[in-house]
Symmetry: C2
Subunit: 332 residues, 2 copies
């Protein structure tokens, strides 16, 4: 069997997760890593080609990837890299800025279509699996609204974006933010109320902050509580901890979530569906889902398809290595 | 907008559920009901064309359906009706005899392909949504085994097949069987043990039996306990009740289930996904999913596709009435 050659673009948490996932998917092989800072990456890996990002033709000719898995961030990296790279190679990414997905899809679709390439965008667990579950719930239960909750476990889910936001506040040396779902809000959805929530009704935010030596705790707390969008709409708690406490008790990237939707069928009978996921490592979970979508992207490309795709546009059998016979016999 | 004209083939619990679901899906209209016993159906419905099943050309010409939703049983009806009807019209069915899905798919695929028709088979919640969740879990978490559990709620889930089996026993006038998931078995899967289960490890069976006046309870209990496949492998309890108790306390068709899969990602981090559904009415749930698949079948047909399809072969966006713009803007 010829393996799928995947280039990993971006050597961050997701990129390293993709490299680990490729080792667990025997139909894949790592073509190489592409980075803005190849010298830094070369210090961390061995036996793997590492190329500089800025000349796509050069690394695509050298690595000959069937697919490039774009692991950069959605704020600065992907809006620039995606539309450029999809002119040259089949791509997959986890662009997760929900409000900007329409414009990102349009840019990717235009360039990928013109180049005859497939670009699978915005996949992972949310957007991605959660998008799929929302759409299926709505299609199979007309009138249902699907709700997403995050951080249902006792420790909650680590939010990278909110942790980064905390670290921009003067006086904050390091910080991590855990999101907690509000159990009563979940129960209201389960009961079929289809409630209208403000953001602060569904989640609370718990911050663990290490201060700079000269920082004023009251000023930092005020700055956090008043940060629009990130914290102001939420019930927020701020805990000051030492760097040692943060490093020992709040490491890793755990996250979890729930998509829940309730409606009635036919003669007023209750109907409820829930999709739940729990990840010891959020970036590794995203990475695993990216690799399965890379498999689908290569299949679509080989069929002669082109343009931008989301998880909603791909037949689920494309994600698996299982044959149609195996699927019909053991998985239906 | 031209509505999708659906013919409902078979006026049982699922067929009535489909008729109710069509009323809740504004892009559909009911073309008519097709039955082996149209006179019986005409007594129950009004204002709806009812046609006799045995001459497909006649009812297809009269009703002009875009799709026929086949609501017959998997044991006797669908193996005969499906391969015949898919020569004439786009079809959707919920064939659910898991071990015979490969041969049913082959028969439907051969005839539908020859006729240039689309036949979506074996959909509902299991097979159907559960098949999809199993395949996604396996694709996104290599090494995960997906397990199906049924009857997690306090009353358990009503099994029609097992209730029918009870009613074949001499001395049984009426009966209903509720399946219960074994909570410890679910917890073992959640912990990532990927255990090897015998059927009796995952579920127990609870029977509510109304005896004929002259029946011997001990003999009936023995016959139940020793029934191979249905009850012999399971921890089974038999409760004798009056017809009045059965009618009052054990009516309706509630069912629920769970697909759960656990694995590790990358560097040994735990990963767990669960899909849970709870239905006040099992046949209405199946009906709702059938209608969404009928929408997809018509779209595939209009694209010029042909042959047999399962939920694994259909892009999820085909199930919904939402436009691509709406999906990208609000559902991703």
């Amino acid at each position: 069997m010829t393996k799928i050659r995947a280039a990993v673009v971006g050597y961050g948490n997701v990129g390293r997760g993709v490299m680990a996932s490729i080792r667990n998917n025997p139909d894949f092989e790592l073509a190489g890593v592409v980075s803005r800072s190849p010298e830094r990456v070369k210090k961390a890996v061995s036996g793997i080609p590492v190329m500089k990002l800025d000349n796509p033709s050069a690394w695509i000719e050298a690595l000959r990837p069937d697919v490039a898995i774009l692991c950069g961030g959605s704020k600065d990296d992907l809006p620039r890299q995606g539309p450029e790279l999809c002119r040259h190679v089949t791509t997959v990414d986890s662009f997760d800025n929900h409000s900007r997905i329409p414009e990102y899809f349009a840019a990717m679709n235009e360039n990928a279509t013109a180049a005859g390439k497939v670009a699978v965008i915005s996949t992972g667990w949310d957007p991605g699996m959660f998008s799929l579950q929302r759409v299926l719930a709505g299609a199979f239960m007309p009138g249902a609204r699907a709700y997403g909750f995050y951080g249902l476990g006792p420790k909650g889910g680590l939010s990278m974006g909110h942790s980064d936001a905390l670290r921009t506040i003067p006086g904050v040396r390091d910080a991590r933010q855990y999101t907690h779902a509000v159990p009563d809000a979940i129960e209201r959805v389960r009961k079929g109320e289809n409630p209208v929530f403000e953001p602060g009704d569904m989640h609370t935010r718990e911050c663990f902050v290490v201060l700079e030596p000269d920082a004023d705790p009251a000023a930092v707390t005020k700055a956090i509580m008043e940060m629009p969008g990130y914290f102001a709409p939420y019930q927020t708690t701020v805990n000051f901890v030492t760097q040692e406490e943060l490093d020992q008790q709040y490491q890793g990237f755990p996250h979890d979530g729930l998509v829940v939707a309730a409606a009635v069928t036919g003669n007023g009978n209750p109907a409820l569906t829930e999709y739940r996921c729990l990840w010891g490592s959020n970036p590794e979970a995203t990475a695993n889902i990216l690799v399965a979508h890379a498999r689908a992207a290569v299949r679509l490309q080989r069929e002669g398809r082109s343009g931008a795709f989301t998880i909603l546009d791909i037949p689920p059998a494309y994600f698996t290595t299982l044959s149609r016979d195996e699927l019909l016999k053991h998985w239906m």
